[in-house]
C-alpha cells in the first residue's frame, strides 16, 4: 500500500471500529428463539421502548444492544411472522432469553412503495403485491424473478433463461419499456438498450429482502416509465442480516432432449454480511448461473411486410420464400421475377416471353437459406453477479450507504430481432444517505454491451460474407439462372426451386466453397468475422456504452406539518449519455446527452378518526427534448372494519420516448432503417424536403399519397381508475380484489414511411398494386409516432389466501386484463385475458417443523402476441412448480428439491422467444434467512 493512502485508510477503519462514546451506557445481550421449534431467530429487530436505540439479532439469534437509557427498560422484539413482544429488562448482567411466538395471522406485512412511507399492506391505498425473503426461500422457482409470475395480474415474458420481463395490465413484451424496476432505489434499466436487467445484474438471490410490485400506472411516485407497473426490489441490510450464507443449486434442464440434449443447471450464491460495530456493517455477495439456455426454436414460416407480419404455412423445402421465426438469414428476400429475370431476358431475349409467363406473371419471392438460432446464437447462459455495500451510521437513524452491483454474462434478448447478449457488463454504483425523514441518493448505471450482436443481422451478413446476394454472379443470379435452366428442361416449379437452391447454395462443395454447414470452421470464421464488426461498419456487433447518472432527494416534512397533513417532497435529476459509436444511436460524431428533471409532492391526511385516509400526489417531469409533464395521483382508503379496507385511486403515468425511440439509427436490412423521433433525423435524411409517404401495415401494402408530416413525438400516458378491497376475515382468510379501467393516450408506436427513389410516387403506387415489395421503390424509415386515438383497457384481480390448521396455506388468484377499444390501432396488447395461480404450501410441519413444501399451478389463456419481432397466436400455458424442503436447524442447513414446469410441457409466452421446459434442481443452503 502506498504511504499516501495508508494514513486515510487507517483513519477510516478506526472511525468505523470506534464505538459510540457515551458517558453512561448499558450493554444488554440476549438470545431469541422460536417458541415452537427452539431454533434461533435471526434478523429480529430489538429496540428500546421510548428510545432510538436498536439492533438486530445475528444468525445465531444473539443480540447485543448498547443504550443510553437507564435500567429498568423495556425491549420491543419484532419481526415479520412473529407476534411482537415487549420484554422488561432490569439487569444488564443476565442475558435476556426471549421465546418468540410465530404469528398466526395473515396480512401483517409492511410495504413501503405504495406511499413511500412504511404502512401495513392491508392499508395500502393502491394495489400492491409483496414477496418476502421467506416467500423466495419457500418458492419452487429456481430464480427469484420467477416468483413474480405467481402474483396476481403478472405476466412474465421469457426471452431466455436469465432474461425475463414481468409486466402487468397488458402490453407485455420482452424488455418492456413500460415497467420500471428499481433495485434499492436505482433504476435497473440498461440506459442504452432500454430493458431492465434485473435477471442479469440486479441483486443476488440471497440478498433480496423483499420485492414490492405496484401493478399498473405508478409514475406519480416513481417517475416516468411506470405505466404498466413498478417493481421495487430491496436488499438485505447488513446491520440486520448478518453472517455467511450460501446456497448451491444444481439442476438439470432439457431432460427430454426435445430441443437440445440434457444439460446441467448451476446456480451458486453466497452472501457475507458483518456488523463490524454498531456504526459500521458491510456485505458482499456473489451469484453464478451457468446453464444451457432454452432455445428459440420456432421453425414456423413467417410472412413479414415491414414490421408487420403473420405466421403462414410452408417450410424450407416447400416455400422458396420461407422465413422461419427462429431461423435467421432467410429474411433476405427478393422477387426474382422483377429483379433478376429482366437481366436474364436482356441477355437471352428469346426467353423473355417464357420468363413473363412463369408463375402466372405474379411475383416470385425467394429468400436466402437461413440458419437455426442455435447455429448463430451463443446458447450458453453464463451470469456472474457481484455486489457489495458499506453501511455507516452517522447517527442511530441516519445511515450512509456506498453500494455497487456489477454483473456480466451471456443471455438472449428479443427486441425487434433476437440479440445474443455476449459478455454484457452492467454496473450500478450508488451513494445514499437516508434517515426516516429524508433521503439523498446519487447513482450511476454503466453499461457495456460487450460483444453482443444482433442474430438476424449477423446471419444475413454471414450469408453475404460467404456469397453476396446481388451482382451478376450473386446468389440470386445463380439461383435464378439455375431455376430458369431447370424449368427449360421441363422441371416443375417446385423441382426447379429445389435445384436452384441447391445450385446457389452450392451444397456439393459445402466443405470447400459452398454454403458452410453450421459449426464448421469455415462457418465460424464467417460468423466471427461478421459479429466482430460494428453494425455501422457493416457487421452485426453493437457497441453500447451508454451511461445513466441520477441524483435524487426526498424529505418528509410531516414532523413540521403533521397538524395539517403528512407531506413528502422530492426531486431528481437524471442524465443519459448515449454512446454507441454510431452502431445503435446517431452518435457517430460524439456522445448524446439527454437530461431529465423531476419533482414531486405528496400530502396525506387522515379524517374521521383515521377511518378515511386521503392522499394527493403530484409529480412534474421535464425532459430536454419534450414538453414538461405533470402527473397527479389521488387515493382514498376507507377502513370499513378493523383489517378491512376499501381503496379508491386515480393514478396517471407516462413515459418519455425511450432513448432508442429518440436517437436510434439502425439499418435493419430490406432498405429499412429504424430512426428516432428526434427532429435532427428529418433534416439529415431530408425526409420533408424530399417528401416521404406513410405505408400501411395491411396486406397488400398500400401507401398514403399525402406526404407524411412527421409530427413531434410526445410522451405516451395512461390514466387509471381503480377500486379495491383488502381484508382479513377472521384470522385465516385474506382477500384482495381490485378492478380498474385505464385509458392510454398518445401511444408510441412505429410506422413505416418511404422516400420514393427520384420522388417517383406513381411507380411506387403501381408497384405495390402488383405485389412488388415497397423496398424496391425507395428507402424505408421506421419512425416513432403517437396514436391520435385512445386505447382503453380494463381488468380485475382477485386473490384469496386461506390458512389451514398446522401451517398449511392454500392460495389462489385470478386476474383478467382486456383491451376494450384499440382505437383502430394495432396496440400490441399481447396479454392473456385470464390467468390464474393456485398454490398449496406449508413452510414447516412434521417433527420440529422441519418439512416444507410448495405446489404451485399456473394457467394463462392463449392470446395474440403482437411484437416487433413477430406476431401470432400464443397458445394457453400451464405450468406446475413444486418443491419439498427439509431443514436441519442445528447446522442451519436446508435441502430443497424442486422443479419448475415439472410436467416439462414446453411453452412460449411471446412469438420468437425461447421454448421453456422443465428445470429440476436440488438446493443445499446454509444460513439462508
Amino acid at each position: 500500500m502506498k504511504k499516501s493512502t495508508r494514513y486515510p485508510a487507517s483513519l477510516l477503519i478506526a472511525a468505523m471500529l470506534t464505538l459510540a462514546a457515551a458517558a453512561q451506557t448499558t450493554t444488554i445481550t440476549g438470545n431469541i428463539k422460536n417458541s415452537g421449534t427452539r431454533d434461533a431467530v435471526p434478523a429480529v429487530s430489538v429496540t428500546v421502548k421510548g428510545s432510538s436505540s436498536g439492533t438486530f439479532t445475528n444468525e445465531k439469534g444473539d443480540f447485543r444492544l448498547i443504550t443510553a437509557s437507564p435500567l429498568p427498560l423495556t425491549l420491543i422484539i419484532s419481526s415479520i411472522g412473529f407476534e411482537t413482544k415487549e420484554v422488561p429488562v432490569s439487569s444488564a448482567s443476565t442475558p435476556v432469553q426471549v421465546d418468540f411466538v410465530p404469528a398466526s395471522s395473515l396480512g401483517t406485512e409492511v410495504v413501503v412503495s405504495a406511499s413511500r412511507v412504511p404502512q401495513r399492506i392491508l392499508e395500502s391505498p393502491v394495489s400492491i403485491e409483496r414477496i418476502s425473503a421467506a416467500n423466495i426461500r419457500n418458492a419452487p422457482a429456481a430464480s427469484y424473478y420467477d416468483v413474480l409470475a405467481n402474483l396476481k395480474g403478472v405476466d412474465i415474458t421469457t426471452s431466455s433463461l436469465t432474461f425475463k420481463t414481468p409486466s402487468t395490465r397488458g402490453f407485455n413484451g420482452s424488455g418492456s419499456t413500460r415497467v420500471n424496476q428499481l433495485v434499492d432505489g436505482m433504476d435497473n434499466q440498461a440506459p442504452g438498450l432500454n430493458f431492465s436487467v434485473g435477471g442479469v445484474v440486479g441483486l443476488t438471490e440471497l440478498d433480496v429482502d423483499n420485492i414490492e410490485l405496484l401493478p399498473g400506472a405508478s409514475s406519480a411516485l416513481y417517475g416516468p416509465g411506470g405505466m404498466n407497473g413498478t417493481i421495487l426490489i430491496s436488499s438485505k441490510n447488513p446491520f440486520k442480516y448478518q453472517g455467511l450464507s450460501f446456497q448451491i443449486k444444481e439442476g438439470i434442464m432439457n431432460t427430454d432432449s426435445r430441443f437440445r440434449s440434457l444439460s446441467p443447471y448451476h446456480n451458486w450464491s453466497v452472501r457475507w454480511a458483518e456488523k463490524v460495530s454498531d456504526k459500521f456493517a458491510f456485505k458482499i455477495g456473489m451469484e453464478m448461473v451457468a446453464a444451457k439456455d432454452w432455445l428459440g426454436y420456432d421453425k414456423r414460416n413467417y410472412s413479414r411486410t415491414g414490421t408487420n407480419g403473420k405466421i403462414i404455412v410452408g417450410d424450407r423445402e416447400t416455400d422458396p420464400n420461407y422465413d422461419g421465426i427462429n431461423t435467421y438469414g432467410d429474411e433476405t428476400t427478393i422477387d426474382i421475377r422483377s429483379n433478376v429475370f429482366p437481366g436474364i431476358a436482356g441477355a437471352a431475349p428469346f426467353l423473355k416471353g417464357f420468363l413473363d409467363t412463369l408463375n402466372g406473371g405474379r411475383p416470385m419471392n425467394v429468400s436466402r437459406t437461413g440458419y437455426k438460432e442455435s447455429d448463430v446464437v451463443n446458447q450458453n447462459t453464463l451470469n456472474y453477479k457481484l455486489s457489495g455495500a458499506l453501511h455507516y451510521k452517522l447517527s442511530p437513524k441516519t445511515e450512509a450507504i456506498l453500494a455497487g452491483h456489477w454483473g456480466t454474462g451471456n443471455t438472449v434478448y428479443t427486441g425487434s430481432e433476437r440479440y445474443s447478449l455476449k459478455n454484457l457488463k452492467i454496473g450500478q454504483y450508488k451513494f445514499e444517505i437516508n434517515n426516516p425523514n429524508w433521503l439523498l441518493r446519487a447513482y450511476t448505471t454503466q453499461e457495456d454491451a460487450g460483444e453482443s450482436y444482433n442474430a438476424t443481422v449477423t446471419t444475413r451478413l454471414l450469408n453475404e460474407a460467404w456469397k453476396p446476394s446481388g451482382g451478376s454472379n450473386g446468389w440470386f443470379a445463380q439461383y435464378s439462372q439455375a431455376y430458369v435452366g431447370a424449368r427449360l428442361t421441363g422441371a416443375s416449379d417446385f423441382n426447379a426451386q429445389t435445384i436452384a437452391r441447391a445450385t446457389a447454395d452450392d451444397i456439393v462443395n459445402k466443405s470447400t466453397t459452398g454454403r458452410p454447414d453450421p459449426g464448421t470452421t469455415r462457418f465460424n470464421t464467417y460468423l466471427n468475422q461478421v459479429r466482430g464488426v460494428p453494425i455501422s461498419k457493416g457487421g452485426g456487433l453493437f457497441l453500447d456504452k451508454t451511461n445513466l447518472y441520477m441524483v435524487e432527494g426526498q424529505a418528509n416534512l410531516s414532523p413540521v406539518t403533521k397538524n395539517v397533513a403528512d407531506i413528502i417532497v422530492g426531486a431528481n435529476y437524471k442524465r443519459y449519455l448515449l454512446n454507441s459509436e454510431g452502431t445503435l444511436f446517431a452518435d457517430s460524431t460524439g456522445k448524446i446527452g439527454i437530461n431529465e428533471f423531476g419533482a414531486y409532492i405528496q400530502a396525506t391526511r387522515a379524517l374521521f378518526n383515521d377511518v378515511v385516509k386521503l392522499q394527493l400526489s403530484g409529480r412534474y417531469d421535464k425532459n430536454q427534448n419534450f414538453k414538461g409533464r405533470f402527473t397527479p395521483r389521488a387515493t382514498m382508503v376507507i377502513k370499513v372494519a378493523e383489517n378491512n379496507n376499501l381503496r379508491f385511486s386515480y393514478q396517471s403515468a407516462y413515459r418519455f420516448p425511450s432513448t432508442q425511440q429518440q436517437w436510434i439509427n439502425l439499418n435493419i436490412g430490406s432498405n429499412t432503417r429504424l430512426i428516432g423521433g428526434n427532429k435532427n433525423f428529418i433534416d439529415y435524411y431530408k425526409l420533408k424536403t424530399t417528401p416521404s409517404y406513410e405505408l400501411s401495415i395491411t396486406t397488400p401494402t398500400t401507401v398514403n399519397t399525402t406526404a407524411y408530416t412527421f409530427p413531434d413525438s410526445k410522451p405516451e400516458s395512461v390514466t387509471t381508475y381503480e377500486i379495491g378491497y383488502k381484508g382479513l376475515l377472521g384470522k385465516n382468510l385474506l382477500i384482495d380484489v381490485y378492478g380498474y379501467y385505464g385509458e392510454y393516450k398518445d401511444f408510441l408506436y412505429r410506422t413505416l414511411v418511404i422516400q420514393p427513389t427520384g420522388g417517383n410516387l406513381n411507380a411506387l403506387v403501381a408497384g405495390l398494386a402488383s405485389g412488388v415489395p415497397a423496398s424496391n421503390f425507395g428507402n424505408i424509415f421506421s419512425v416513432p409516432a403517437n396514436t391520435t386515438s385512445k386505447v382503453k383497457t380494463y381488468g380485475f384481480g382477485l386473490s384469496i389466501d386461506y390458512r389451514l390448521p398446522l401451517g398449511f396455506i392454500i392460495s389462489g388468484n385470478l386476474s383478467s386484463d382486456d383491451l376494450k377499444d384499440s382505437g383502430g390501432f394495432r396496440a400490441a396488447f399481447s396479454t392473456p385475458k385470464y390467468r390464474t395461480n393456485i398454490s398449496f404450501a406449508n413452510n414447516g410441519f412434521g417433527t420440529g417443523k422441519r418439512l416444507g413444501f410448495n405446489l404451485t399451478y399456473r394457467w394463462q389463456d392463449g392470446f395474440y402476441y403482437d411484437g416487433d419481432f413477430g406476431n401470432g397466436d400464443v397458445p394457453a400455458v400451464q405450468t406446475l412448480d413444486a418443491q419439498v424442503s427439509y431443514k436441519i436447524p442445528k447446522s442451519k442447513c436446508a435441502v430443497k428439491v424442486g422443479g419448475n414446469n415439472i410436467l416439462n410441457q414446453y411453452y412460449i409466452n411471446a412469438i420468437g422467444n425461447s421454448m421453456v421446459g422443465g428445470l429440476y434442481y436440488v438446493a443445499f443452503s446454509y444460513n439462508v434467512f
Partner: protein, 415 residues
C-alpha cells in the same frame, strides 16, 4: 362408509386433476409444409405416344432421337409436345426421301426409312433436333395460347449452341384465333391430349427447327440482293462481322433477336429506285427520256447502293430509314396477321415513336391463309406477301432462328 366415500371422492378429484395437468401445452414449433402436386407415374407422354397407332411414325423418330428417357419418359418433368400424326409424317418422309418413298407406300416403308442406320437417312442427331424442337418444357393447353398479336416466344428444349449459353433455346410461337390454332404457322389438328406429365397437340405437318438466321437467308437469296445491299448501306456501306452489335446486319444475324422481315423482291426495288432516280435526274435538268434510261441503268443491279455517285441521295440514314421500316420487333407468321387491316409499329418506331407503322392483314380460307398484305404509310396500295410457306425455299413464313421472313412485291415507304 363416509370415509370410504371421502377417499373415493378424493381419489376421483386427484385423477381428474392429473388428467387436467397432463393435458399438454399446445406448443407448435414445426412449420406446415405446402402441398406440392405429386408426380404420378401412370401414362407419361412417352407411353401415350408408344400406345397410339396413328403416332407410330413419330414414335419411330422419337426412338431414333434417343432423348425420351431424359425428357418425356420422366414423370417428374412437364412438357407440351407437338406431334405430327402418321399422315403428316408421311408427307415429311416423302419430301426427305426426295420422293423415293411415295405417299402411298406401306407404313413399314416409312418406318424403315426412319429407323434405317445404313443408309442413315435421318441421323439420330437430326431426329433429336426435330423432336427437341417439338417439345416445350411446360404444360400449355390451347386455353392459354395467346389470342392476340404480338406473339409470345415459347422456348423449346432445343439448344442450338450449348457452348454459347446453357440457357439458349430455339423458340416456337403458339397462337389461337377464330380460324384455328397454330404452332408457328402449322395448324393443330387436335389439341390437349393429356398425359401424366404433359400435353400432346397433334399438328398438320411436322414442325421443323429453323437452321439459319434471317441474315443467313437474306445473304444468299438471289431475289433479295437489293435488300441485302440496302442493309449493308444502312450499316454505312461496309460489311461487318456477323452479329456486330448495333448494326442491322448484326441484328438480323443475332440468335437472340426476334423479328419479322418483309423482304421486297429485287424487281420491286428496281422499279422504285428507277422511278426515284428518274425524278431526281429530271429535277437536275436531264431530259425525261435520258433520265429514264440512265436511271434504269443505275438501278439495274444492287450495286446501286454502293454507287458513290448516288451517295448523296442514298445516304445511310435514308436507306436505314427504309430498311428498318421493313422489320417488326416481334415474330408474325401470316396466320398471326389480323383479318382486317390494322397498323403495327416497325423498328422505325424506335426512332420515330409516333410513326403509324405498317398496315397488316391476312385473308383466311378455313385455317389457311389465302392472301396477306402489308401496307406502307406512303404506298398507294398494299404490298402482297408472296405466299409459299415451304420451309427453307418458300417465300412466306420462312422461320429462321431469330425471326420470320416474308417476301413482298413492293418496297414499303414510310413517308
Amino acid at each position: 362408509m363416509n370415509n370410504i366415500n371421502r377417499i373415493k371422492n378424493g381419489g376421483l378429484a386427484i385423477i381428474s386433476l392429473l388428467i387436467f395437468f397432463t393435458s399438454c401445452n399446445k406448443l407448435n414449433t414445426e412449420p406446415t409444409p405446402l402441398v406440392i402436386p405429386g408426380n404420378p407415374a401412370g401414362n407419361t407422354l412417352a407411353k401415350v405416344l408408344a400406345a397410339t397407332a396413328s403416332d407410330s411414325l413419330y414414335n419411330r423418330l422419337l426412338i431414333k432421337s434417343g432423348i425420351a428417357a431424359s425428357t418425356i419418359a420422366d414423370s417428374t418433368l412437364r412438357f407440351t409436345m407437338f406431334v405430327p400424326d402418321n399422315n403428316a409424317m408421311k408427307v415429311f418422309i416423302n419430301g426427305a426421301s426426295g420422293g423415293a418413298i411415295p405417299l402411298n407406300a406401306p407404313d413399314a416403308a416409312f418406318s424403315a426409312f426412319i429407323s434405317s442406320t445404313s443408309p442413315n437417312y435421318i441421323p439420330a442427331a437430326t431426329a433429336a433436333n426435330i423432336v427437341s424442337y417439338n417439345i416445350i418444357p411446360q404444360s400449355v393447353t390451347t386455353a392459354s395460347f395467346p389470342t392476340a398479336f404480338p406473339n409470345l416466344q415459347y422456348p423449346t428444349i432445343l439448344n442450338p449452341a450449348p457452348t454459347l449459353s446453357a440457357l439458349l433455346r430455339l423458340t416456337t410461337f403458339l397462337s389461337k384465333r377464330s380460324n384455328g390454332t397454330w404452332v408457328n404457322n402449322v395448324p393443330l389438328l387436335s389439341a390437349d391430349a393429356v398425359a401424366t406429365n404433359g400435353i400432346i397437340h397433334h399438328t398438320a405437318a411436322i414442325v421443323l427447327p429453323p437452321s439459319a438466321s434471317l441474315w443467313g437467308r437474306i445473304n444468299i437469296d438471289p431475289d433479295m440482293t437489293y435488300f441485302k445491299a440496302a442493309i449493308l448501306r444502312a450499316d454505312s456501306g461496309t460489311a461487318v462481322a456477323p452479329s456486330t452489335v448495333g448494326t442491322l446486319q448484326g441484328a438480323l444475324d443475332n440468335i437472340g433477336a426476334n423479328l419479322t422481315v418483309f423482304a421486297p423482291t429485287d424487281s420491286s426495288f428496281r422499279s422504285i429506285l428507277t422511278g426515284q432516280i428518274t425524278l431526281a435526274l429530271i429535277a437536275q435538268g436531264v431530259p425525261p427520256a435520258n433520265a429514264q434510261a440512265s436511271a434504269a441503268a443505275l438501278a439495274a443491279t444492287s450495286a446501286v447502293f454502293s454507287n458513290p455517285a448516288l451517295y448523296s441521295v442514298l445516304t445511310p440514314t435514308n436507306v436505314k430509314g427504309i430498311a428498318v421500316y421493313h422489320l417488326l420487333g416481334t415474330r408474325a407468321f401470316t396466320v398471326n396477321l389480323p383479318a382486317s387491316q390494322a397498323n403495327y409499329p416497325t423498328l422505325l418506331n424506335s426512332a420515330i415513336p409516333t410513326h403509324p407503322g405498317v398496315g397488316l392483314q391476312s385473308t383466311f380460307t378455313g385455317p389457311v391463309v389465302s392472301a396477306a398484305t402489308v401496307k406502307g404509310a406512303a404506298n398507294a396500295t398494299a404490298a402482297n406477301i408472296l405466299l409459299n410457306p415451304t420451309p427453307g425455299t418458300g417465300s412466306s413464313d420462312q422461320n429462321a432462328t431469330n425471326g420470320v421472313l416474308h417476301k413482298i412485291n413492293q418496297v414499303l415507304l414510310p413517308q
